[in-house]
């Protein structure tokens, strides 16, 4: 727990000194405006929940990807990556500890999106199922930390992964049903999309904002958490291999 706090404090300071990390706090209200414009222009008020959920999930995802990449990258550039990996703390836990802070910060976008909706569009979002919404957001944050751990592991394992970091945005947002629900995409995308926790989060959060009762909320929250846990475990597995590789070759990462 003390590791969690220490690494978290470190990451918090990093976020405050590198304004780059706050990119999503700047971009999200603007994106919310774009989505709400789209919905308003379409004349379908039942889609407002879609416009509110999408920017939040995009921010949570993008911030976690950014940080997991930067954590590894900046450490590699500083030459501290080897040291961190060789340090007697579990690297996976360290990454997760650093990621949770940014994930928590990215939940601030909920407030931002709410503000844009009320102030910019005169729409006060109606939260029909507040408990489901809060638990859904928390589960999403936890799963995001797990996914970020997996990504960090992949970034450590292969140098070229950084090049693909950009690739991790829209393909995942598309398949994760962040704006358009996965059910509305072609059937062949469903098996893949359901492996991405975002598709479960998006469906659940939209349901929390709709008047209809939410079916199987507990079960859906468990799926979100389970997928996050799975990602974290795979990440640990990858990191375990990397640590062994470091001890044998003395350097981190394959070209």
């Amino acid at each position: 727990m003390s590791l969690l706090a220490a690494a978290g404090r470190f990451q918090g300071q990093l976020v405050l000194t590198h304004r780059d990390y706050l990119i999503d706090l700047v971009r999200t209200p603007l994106l919310a405006a774009v989505f709400l414009l789209l919905v308003r222009h379409s004349g379908q008020p039942q889609l407002i929940a879609y416009g509110l959920v999408a920017p939040v999930l995009m921010a949570v995802w993008s911030m976690a990807m950014l940080i997991s990449g930067e954590v590894v990258d900046s450490d590699r550039q500083l030459g501290t990556l080897e040291l961190v990996i060789a340090a007697p703390v579990d690297f996976a836990r360290l990454v997760v500890s650093r990621v949770w802070v940014t994930t928590t910060i990215s939940l601030l976008t909920v407030v931002e999106v709410f503000a844009v909706s009320v102030l910019g569009f005169g729409i006060t979002p109606e939260v029909d199922h507040p408990v489901v919404l809060v638990l859904g957001l928390l589960a999403t944050a936890a799963a995001t930390a797990g996914a970020a751990g997996l990504m960090a592991a992949l970034f450590v394992a292969t140098r070229t992964a950084r090049t693909f970091q950009n690739t991790l945005s829209y393909p995942f947002l598309l398949l994760g049903g962040v704006f358009v629900p996965l059910d509305r995409l072609p059937a062949w995308t469903h098996p893949l999309g359901r492996l991405i926790y975002l598709s479960w989060s998006a469906d659940l959060l939209r349901a929390a904002l709709a008047p209809a009762p939410v079916a199987g909320a507990a079960w859906r929250i468990c799926v979100i958490l389970g997928l996050g846990l799975l990602a974290a475990l795979v990440g640990r597995l990858v990191l375990g291999r990397v640590v062994r590789m470091v001890r044998e070759t003395g350097t981190v990462g394959l070209r």
Partner: protein, 267 residues
Amino acid sequence: MTSGITRRVRVLLWAARAGAADHSAVFTWKTWLFGWFVRMLAQVLFFATAGNLLGPGQARYLLVGNAVLMVALHGLFATASTTWELENGTLPLLVASPSSPSLVLTGRSLFWLPDGVACGLGAFLLLGPVVHLPIGLSAVALVTCLLVLVGLTTYALGLFLGSLVLTATDLRNVVSNAALVVMMALSGVEVPASAVGPVLGRIGAALPLTHGLLAIRRVLDGRGGGQVALLAAQEALVGACWLAAAVAVLTLRARRSRRDGAALFLT
């Protein structure tokens, strides 16, 4: 010594080449195609599929808008890559040379242009059929020309933003991303200018991309000629203004840094 113009063009080309070397160090054709290009297509598709949800005709509107937005996205990368010059430590040497540093910085990020046009055009040709967008050969040629134009005008805006954050490298991505989303909202990418109201619409008209995108929509509607030419001319004018602003800021900063020894040249 040779005449001014050829000399300037040569400097511009060499600067572009230096930038292209940076680009090829980041991408191989494989990482570009399967990483970068796929990501661009996914973004266009993300919004085009939203069209299916939002109503008839929306998918096509959003596909066109977001395909052209990919060109603008590349133009705005100039914001970040302008600051790469700082990392090379070449700025003081540039300032001390007889050539203008703003000329070098103008050429420095031009390499994004072909990349952006390839992504935009690729999105049109590969995803057009998804929304049943018929596009003839002559239209392709005309659209390509307009994409190059949008690439240049948004590049000018990117350069301007880059000149503002030249020494605040941690802001470069924040600024260019914010600018891109503002363009999504105000330049007729996702919704027509009429949907954002008169004030915001006027701001949109001062941004690059707005007129160029309208021109492309006209071409795809099968309307050509005078109206397209007029819109293209307006787009070019907007771009020229942003370029002038960028060069002015760069020149001013170079002059000021001589006086106050700003961080620009002391790194």
